[in-house]
Symmetry: C2
Subunit: 399 residues, 2 copies
Amino acid sequence: MELKFIDGGVCAVDGVLASGCREGKYGVGIIISKDSNAAAIFTSNTVRAEPVKLTEKVMRDGKLSAIVANSGNANCFTGKEGMDDAVRMAERVSEAASVDMDDVAVASTGVIGRRMPLEIIERLIDDAAGRLENSPRASRELAEAIMTTDTYPKEVAVEFELKNGKKARIGAVAKGSGMIAPNMATMLAFITTDVDATPSELKKALRRAADESFNMLIIDGDESTNDMVIITSTCRSGRMDGNFQEALKVVCRKLAWMMARDGEGATKSFMVDVVNAKDSEDARKAARAIAGSSLVKTAIFGADPNWGRIVAAAGYSGAEFNPDDISVSLESDAGSVTVVRRGEILAFEDTGELELAEEIMKEKEIRIIVDLAAGSSGATAYGCDLTYDYVRINAEYTT
Amino acid sequence: MELKFIDGGVCAVDGVLASGCREGKYGVGIIISKDSNAAAIFTSNTVRAEPVKLTEKVMRDGKLSAIVANSGNANCFTGKEGMDDAVRMAERVSEAASVDMDDVAVASTGVIGRRMPLEIIERLIDDAAGRLENSPRASRELAEAIMTTDTYPKEVAVEFELKNGKKARIGAVAKGSGMIAPNMATMLAFITTDVDATPSELKKALRRAADESFNMLIIDGDESTNDMVIITSTCRSGRMDGNFQEALKVVCRKLAWMMARDGEGATKSFMVDVVNAKDSEDARKAARAIAGSSLVKTAIFGADPNWGRIVAAAGYSGAEFNPDDISVSLESDAGSVTVVRRGEILAFEDTGELELAEEIMKEKEIRIIVDLAAGSSGATAYGCDLTYDYVRINAEYTT
């Protein structure tokens, strides 16, 4: 399949409008994709923010015309008043952008347990609604409006060919696992496309793509009360097929990798490729355990080629393998080296392997390849290092 | 049941001998409890150190006469030579202390992936074997010999009455989840008693007690390749009964709490009491998720009464509850305060509750009580804060 990265974020898709604006620590972004088929996945946390509840209800019919997202306040643990506030946001977008309020999704990220500053948010909604347009600039402003402690806006867009040769596009913006104290690390991603697909086809495709991207991203293991990923389709291009699924996976993986790179306090990011696992469940478990291990994360921070921690994390992941058969390799711009081959340590003290491994670990982006030699399934997980700054960001805040 | 804490560690039990000595970063401790019934639990990590494999085999008959433990080298991922080294340690103890080598358990903690410095270890074994005695000092030297990055030795001993009025004792030493780079955080605990119990009774009692203590202790979520808890009984006192089970739980909980207090880089420790959960599985899940949350742990470090992170961690734990019914209280030497009552936030900005909550969080030991209002089961988990020093200890080492 041919696929190329293009500019424009969500606005790479024809007919999609976007805008965003900020006022102090608050921001509002709007996406308009009128009368679109749509699907979403939400946090599996039992504690769910009010906008999550509202959006889930609104999307039951698989239709959306608009998405409004705010940063600065998560509208979580805010009870009946919080739900009223979320509804009020949808109403305001409905009025300002002339869409049915039952087709407006609402997403929030920020501090939890505080009432929404509705006056500010409504002013920002009006402002954003007045500036909606289909342009790379508009998508960029949207991406910036939903940032919290993110250090850069996150956008992706791709153009690819469906199997019948027809061109199609997918665009996306996201906010990463930066955290605005005292909130959880919320992940929001909004994806647009022109591929012709029913809501249930979109849902299936989104779930599959998320399973190999967002669900394999581990910043600190804490799952937010506000996570939300939405995909909308104008259905103006050809029928969905395997190429769409593939392109959607590329987009979601790219977003996940951007979020890993921008994890709170992170100085380095890494991906864990587990190969030759017994089955895909085992591959996922092992990759996630390694990417989530505090010991592996601090080793990455310290540029320590600590294969022992990697092997031990695989060991407690629940994946089946024989420690005598495991192999571990490290890769980065500095090179590639196998440190453990079929249970045998190659990177002992004073070996060339160890020297190279140390050079590899000094780079900003590192790839860990773990061969379990137990089957033929694989999985990739994304993570970032655990640093002094992570502790600082999350400890220094006092309510 | 009457129970009092006494001195003496493992030597509080009549007939038990102990000793320990160190040389640089290496230490060896020996416990002799001749012809004892015994049981053990081992790490569930797929990757297991050689002494774990050996000891599991040795203990199949439920009998032990001696335990030898060394610090400084974990003898893990060392293959056939590593097993030979573990066997050699057992042999040496067997010769020096005149016990059957099939009745010697071996435990190791320290660096992984390196050959044992057998010459040093054997010298230490001989030295320790020559100084075996039944005294508080001997138990203390044993506890010191097995320390790695622990900042203090860990011992407990209790005397209690069995139901028939007969006095019985349990003694214990442990090393905590301090970590010797680049090893995992290894937990070792050796428990002695005079209660008359079969190996399978001991095993059942130990498993139960561990489920409410060691298995609820979360330092960094990484499970070591070397964890081992052994109990031996001289069987000189009365038959085991419910009082023994209760006393064993007290001992194991005390050890777990000591380890939490001495977690790597920890400045504060906390316990999480989950009450009124649907069932005990749910209570355990919620308590563990809260104690293991990086966000809760950094909040404890920052003295932040961040109930939002506590509630959210309960939310992703998988425990069933209605967020509108949850209550959260905080307790320490500074007082006790309810910050969330049945879903309603009491500790809003500028309330007396918030002020008190902040005072409470400044103490060294904190108790978090979470009422799920979903049933009548409870569980307690033990944790420590996540600090700059945790990152430093685990990042600064380079292989």
